[in-house]
Amino acid sequence: MKHKARPQLRAQVRSRLQPPARVQPQSRPRTQPRPLLSLVVPTRHERDNIAALSARVARALGPLHYELLFVDDSDDDTPVAIRREMASDPCVRLYHRRPEERADGLAGAVVAGLRRASGSYIAVLDADLQHPPELLPDLLAAADDADIVVASRYLPGGGSDGLDGPMRRLVSRGSAFAAHSLFARTRRCTDPMSGFFLVRRSVIEGIPLRPVGFKILLEILVRGRWSRLTELPFHFEAREAGESKATIEQGLAYLRHLRTLRLRGPHGHGAVRYRAPRPAPGPDDPQPLDDDLPDDPEIAGKRRRHLLWTVGLLALALRLVLLPIGHWWDLTVDYNVFVDLIHNRSPYDTMTYLSHVARAAGWDFNYEYYAYPPVPLYIYWPLAKLYGLLHPNATYFIPVSGTYAMPSLGLDFFFLFKLPIWIADFLLAALLARMSGTVRGFRDYLLNPYVLLVSAAWTFDAVMVLGLVLGVYYLQRGKPVQSGLALAFGTMAKFFPALVVPTLLLFLIKRKRPLREMVAFGAAYAVGCAVLLGPFLQGLLYVVGFHGGRVGGGMNWEMLWRLGTFFPGGLDLDPTSLAIGAFGTPTLLIALLLAYWYVFTNREMGLNRMVLVTLLAFLAGSKLVNEQYALIVFPFAYLEARRLRGAWRWLFRLLWIVPFAFAIVRVPIDRFLWLFYHVLMGTRADWIAVSGKTGLEWPIFPWFNPVEQQVLIAILGVGFFALCMVAIVWPVRVPRPLRRYRLPMPSVLPRVPAVAAAAAPAAHIPEVADATEREVALQH
């Protein structure tokens, strides 16, 4: 129930603080039994800062009911200064520690203050005014949706000028890195060394805190009972007075603290949900990129973890079962690329050589060899070398037609070749879970039959899709550089992610993002591509030429003509089809340009839909659409189905079912099982190698009859094209009458207007009148 009441806190804080005005301390209401907020301020020899801090806190928090608790370890007259403030401000309290109580240092002082604080929320800040008290209302408001709110120096908009020199900044960064490395729960926090933060009381209640040194936030992050973390940027200001207490001894204490934290419990556990600060944009401010992002999926609890493990192990088992299957031509090429890499020969040179041979010999216009960008070469280079160690006599297997390397390949080749694909699959599944906000994304990707088939039978499409999805993921979260680099990685694995680069730029323009973000994105993409391209530019140009000159086919509009030939009186329009194929590149470019225009001018489209429409336009406009190409739309169609539900769920299903069926009918599917034949029936494998037939062409399968097979292929091809067109023009938002609302129930959860809540009279509690009494009470 406490969660439901949280929105009132934000309203209460905001409404009470407007308009900001200096409020006389005596006029503040103290009518609640427990202050809303306790400020714990450890002090040591800070007498010159006390008055200023107290005044700024009073100004910042205004009429809010709070307590300002100084935990003082001073030997000078700092307590006198605090008592002076107590006399004039009833919110100020003092806990002066005796010298024998100060052995635990600054962190011990904070812990002592935390134990004595009585507020529902407890904030910690330094007395040296490097932590601006003006940020306290924002911290408190952010606590609506969070258990811990950290004022971070390292978020955009923050700053660490208050750190004395680059060395201290480096030490601070290094300390944070060490904490991130050792404690996973701290990784979402950009500044676990911050001394300025706010926590719910429940986070630390009953938790034994044993900090060493001065990093109390780290102690709370590791041991505390929390799951939701929010950060706000703040500028770490220069000291107004006093001296820094950072010393080498403090650094050593920090290392001891890390060791203690690592070795001794208790440690907090459970999922961490991180919410980045989201300031309200002004009319001219750039629109946020992550408006409709779901929260990260909850994976807390034994049951959910078991589910993840079960799905993961099942997915791995299925992939192992499918290990010895594959597309015969792709695997033949991949095997030869392994041999290329073993001998440090560029596959592009081999392709060029073989293409000339093929042309001279009349096999084909081009030898279809390794026609991809170079990233897979980097990935497979060490694996190929390993294969070379296992098979020192591995030689080329260059087929003309009708014979393939596949039956003679061992399981070790299949494993080495598919290992990066499997890793990409799992990373993609995890990414999809994050982007969809549910662990179902993990399951729905890894166990999808179409994904299984593509991962098992074709090449490294999953590696490319990983780069593509990662690029979109980063951009949604406002990280253009990472987005550009991820897309460059994807583009240099297979070309498809290049299609969405203009889309992402258009998205940034649509959202009126700053120009620097667009430049950063474009520059990161260009530099990433250039670095990955390395010495392969010439080869890549050859590959681009190869793709430009390929004949069309597959799941696209060309099937319309083929379909026409199967009906009585239908025209044989092969020349027309060929002519259209010859103009395939212009057709595709026009389709893409129209798609860019459409996604840019449609104001309602979010990033996911924009990317999806672009990719669908490619599938609809391309002269060649192979079965595995549909994998590029799978993640985005899935996310769209999660968002829109309803009919989109069926669109999503059809977007993988039709290619799946197309693959089964066209291949036919049983020819993927060559290695099984090779292991179980050697003679049949040899026969397949020569004839291309499995010997299992039973009448029950549609491919027994070539005409029926061709009709089915044509219908599925045209169907997929039509499906893409429907998905492109499908409304971005669900029509209002169809949308299912879950209406709020007033009888259960009455909404209280913020103004009314602010004006509501609070219960009266007796006021602690005497300053001495406040101090003595704290001593006990």
């Binding site: 041979v357 001279a360 340009l593 020569v690």
Partner: protein
């Protein structure tokens, strides 16, 4: 109305407007408009024009290249070394010249391929050719001969100003369900006169005389144009891969017997080839070092090139 309150002139109005003018939108808003109304239509139009240009230019290039191909001859050169390939004749496939002196010619008329005992002349078959049109510096030429149950692929590469390689691959093909069991390829090499040819293992070394063999007088010391080094390597060489065809013995100026020849043959054999698969036979590496005249630099030693073929 007081005199000071007279209405401002148009210039004053405009200048005050300019002073107080602030763009209604930020830069990215202007960018938005520019992309919507200018960049996209321009890209669309320019893209179409570029596509049309390159598409038709590509078609034209292909046509031109094919026309050139059937003019009958393709030549590469590197320094004084030249490789010529005749497509319309059974000789000079290829021909190698150094400083306009032809020192070796591959002759399909005299070359044979034997498939399971059935001997065929290489020239009496179908032929195909290709070379790298986009990269003229590749200096590589591809030729095929296709007969019943086999296809021979010959790749000629001009490596540098002293070295040429000729690589042979073969593809065995099924004929009526059967496929070849044994292939033997013999390549005939012709030249004017090889003087003092010696064969050691897979290497032949000889002086190249500019005059014909019959014009070499007994007892005289002929002037050599240079030294030919011919090396053959590969996985399917015959037991004696190089053999001289017609050796003429002659008396030298000091009365000793000397050998002269004008042709030699390289032989490759392949048993039980895998069908429809590119199988390398071997690579011939031809180096020519001219005799050093006054001021002529001595040719650098030629490293054995790696096989171009696969």
């Amino acid at each position: 109305m007081p005199p000071s309150a007279k209405s401002p002139s148009n210039i004053e109005v405009v200048s005050s407007m300019l002073k107080t003018f602030k763009p209604a939108h930020k830069l990215n808003a202007h960018l938005n408009t520019a992309v919507t109304k200018v960049i996209t239509p321009v890209v669309l139009l320019v893209g179409l024009l570029v596509l049309a240009f390159f598409n038709f230019q590509g078609v034209l290039t292909t046509t031109t290249a094919q026309t050139d191909l059937y003019k009958g001859q393709k030549a590469f050169s590197a320094g004084p070394l030249q490789v010529t390939f005749q497509t319309l004749a059974g000789t000079d496939r290829p021909a190698l010249s150094y400083d306009n002196l032809m020192f070796l010619s591959y002759v399909d008329w005299s070359s044979t391929i034997s498939v399971d005992g059935h001997v065929q002349n290489l020239w009496d078959n179908y032929h195909g050719y290709d070379w790298d049109r986009k990269n003229p510096n590749a200096n590589q030429f591809f030729a095929t001969s296709t007969g019943t149950g086999w296809q021979l692929i010959e790749v000629v590469t001009l490596l540098n100003s002293h070295t040429v390689t000729v690589h042979y691959d073969v593809v065995a093909r099924t004929q009526n369900g059967a496929y070849p069991r044994h292939l033997t390829l013999s390549i005939e090499h012709l030249h004017r006169t090889l003087y003092l040819p010696t064969i050691r293992g897979n290497t032949l070394v000889a002086d190249v005389l500019p005059k014909l063999q019959q014009n070499v007088n007994s007892g005289s010391t002929p002037k050599s144009a240079g030294t030919l080094t011919f090396m053959v390597s590969g996985p399917n060489l015959a037991d004696e891969p190089i053999s001289l065809d017609a050796v003429r013995s002659d008396a030298g100026p000091d009365g000793t017997v000397r050998a002269l020849a004008d042709s030699f043959t390289t032989t490759y054999t392949l048993d039980n080839p895998q069908v429809n698969r590119l199988t390398p036979l071997g690579t011939e590496t031809i180096s020519f070092a001219p005799d050093a005249g006054p001021g002529t630099p001595v040719a650098a030693p030629v490293a054995t090139p790696t096989a171009i073929g696969l």
